[in-house]
Symmetry: C2
Subunit: 248 residues, 2 copies
């Protein structure tokens, strides 16, 4: 054990040798390098043996990590040959690291399609529990004023509550997928630098408008309110022009 700890302090890869998180950590490290272009599409990753040496892990652990990347469609393996970086477009991979403005705009476009339709359906289908959940998320947002991370959380919770109110489980799942993967994107709709009170108030008002429209069971108003909200969020993120220019 103490020998293990000494090795743990030996270098920059120390964190990558920690116990049961090792395959996840290794997979993330490799995924990051792939995303940064260190291993471009169709290039070959280091062999398992090399990765064992690099990460100080057993072959089983390395294989576990590679398996995760394979499952995510990021890499493919060929027996006898090696593990290769898959071409993009292999799976539903949301922008994880530093999405480009174009990627952000594409996500917003998808959100606008799905979440406006979701708001309209929620307006027609909500029940007491749904409305309570939406209201609580809005209240949490109000209380979180001044705290950027907390307002982002409440914002996400609000959108998920609406998706749940559609009564369509797949709708709910997909919006959760979008919202979860878009945490960075949602965060980007607020200035990372300083708390912007004016922007928060505007954003909060848009959320109130959405809730009111849904509460009134007015599907078209709900749709419009959601569209306004998402459009404004895209504007705040500086994506107006990119969004209107989608497609090269």
């Amino acid at each position: 054990m103490s020998e293990r700890n000494e090795r743990g302090e030996a270098g920059a890869d120390a964190a990558e040798r920690r116990g049961s998180a090792a395959p996840d950590v290794i997979a993330s490290a490799l995924e990051d390098e792939i995303a940064r272009g260190i291993y471009p599409a169709d290039s070959r990753l280091p062999t398992e043996r090399e990765l064992c040496a690099r990460f100080g892990a057993s072959r089983a652990t390395i294989r576990e990590a590679i398996s995760k990347l394979k499952h995510d469609g990021i890499v493919r393996s060929r027996r006898g040959s090696g593990v290769y970086v898959a071409r993009p477009d292999n799976s539903f991979r949301m922008a994880r690291a530093a999405p480009t403005p174009r990627e952000q705009a594409e996500i917003f476009e998808l959100r606008m399609i799905v979440e406006t339709a979701g708001a309209a359906r929620a307006a027609l289908r909500w029940d007491e529990d749904d409305m309570t959940a939406i209201g609580e998320a809005l209240e949490a947002m109000r209380r979180a004023a001044g705290d950027r991370a907390a307002t982002v959380d409440a914002d996400t919770t609000f959108h998920l509550a609406i998706a749940r109110a559609t009564g369509n489980r797949y709708f709910n799942d997909f919006v959760r997928l979008l919202e979860t993967s878009l945490r960075t994107n949602v965060a980007l709709s607020y200035s990372p630098a300083d708390w912007d009170e004016e922007q928060f108030q505007r954003n909060y008002s848009e959320h109130v408008a959405i809730l009111r429209a849904i509460e009134a069971r007015d599907a078209e108003r709900a749709r419009a309110a959601m569209l306004i909200h998402l459009g404004t969020a895209a504007d705040d993120a500086g994506l107006t022009e990119v969004l209107s220019n989608l497609r090269p």
Copy 2:
């Protein structure tokens, strides 16, 4: 080798001992049993050792299979305790095995939202390659008349080609996810019993209408044509009433 072959013929699990597909096969078998309720939510799967005995595979292979299920959110493992079936709703899990009519209807609803919007965008954004791909998928569909599996394939390819023509990568990814997971669902829009020539012709005509609208760069017509097509497919699948009654 010959000893291996003899063991391979020893019983009903013979196919499950085949070479490099074993972890996939084992994962699918377990997933099927979970879906059929043999292992309900929160119940514990057999131990790795038991699964090794059952499938005649090494522990590494079993772990590979379990890892796939973990990655899909179907199971969770607790070190020292066992592998447990996860509660539903853990991830974006499309209906895989025998979706209920309600599940099918929910998927159709989501498709109607996403794919109608996709057709409209494809109409505005397609380029020569896109149109060639859409046209080829339609041609493949025509040639596949009489062969149910091949027409389903071509049908899927058609929809994916349209998604690609949106020029939005996330759109493309999501429609692929829907189409991929919905292979059973798309298949259900055709009678499993017998080839239905009249239905095929109608379906094919709807696809022609979609292609024409997109080709003409008429977004609203494309949207309408896709809606008609998906609505008819839902009708053919016997989902009309369920779809209109979504939400308990």
